[in-house]
Symmetry: C2
Subunit: 97 residues, 2 copies
DNA sequence: ATAATTTGGTTTATATTATAAACTTCTCTA
DNA sequence: TAGAGAAGTTTATAATATAAACCAAATTAT
């Protein structure tokens, strides 16, 4: 009846990050921060979690002399996101009006 | 960009309960328990929260001599659910494939 | 030159939340 | 009448999200 919802994705900020990365393919930390409205600390933690799960790839480089953290979604992450959306539909597609 | 997600609804079990009640209009505790696979304790707590928020109505009656807890969605709950679904879409409708 | 501010983050502490375990009350049945 | 089962509730714990505090380097102001 109800499919389980991947707890890693069923969290507002992490879902927003994944959502961004799916449409953008690549995004820098400050951009994600601005788009999501998250605090840097919170974003840092959630990015770590997504990265630890292999859902995103994080590359720490330099842009001139400033540090620059770039995030990309991985195939695993994309799959997880798609599965999550499918599962969610079991909760939403209830009323066939 | 990303609409905030009602934290009361953005929780697996509560979402499942609301989802059930939207299609069923009325449901008894044991039925909800069975459909969601939740433990009675967890379900009891989550039903209380939905009820406290006015999202559902809980009626405690008797079925013969056994207690019988019946739940119904309220207009407020229905509205909240619809808003939640709309908000969710801001996270999902990203890739227009 | 050096003090203050900003940028780009990380670490840590707190507060909330979800969840299950333990408990209660009543009924049925062996 | 003892034990099991149904229907929940309360309470304790473990996980989680989140922001506050912090750090380092670079830029700007004095």
């Amino acid at each position: 009846m109800f499919k389980p919802l991947d707890p890693l994705l069923h969290a507002e900020l992490r879902l927003a990050v994944m959502s961004l990365l799916i449409s953008a393919e690549e995004a820098e930390f400050p951009y994600i921060k601005e788009q999501t409205g998250a605090t840097a600390g919170n974003l840092s933690v959630q990015i770590d979690k997504l990265s630890a799960a292999g859902y995103i790839e994080v590359e720490k480089t330099f842009k001139g002399k400033k540090p620059c953290t770039v995030c990309r979604i991985t195939p695993v992450g994309l799959k997880a996101f798609e599965d999550y959306v499918k599962a969610l539909k079991s909760y939403l597609n209830v009323k066939k009006t």
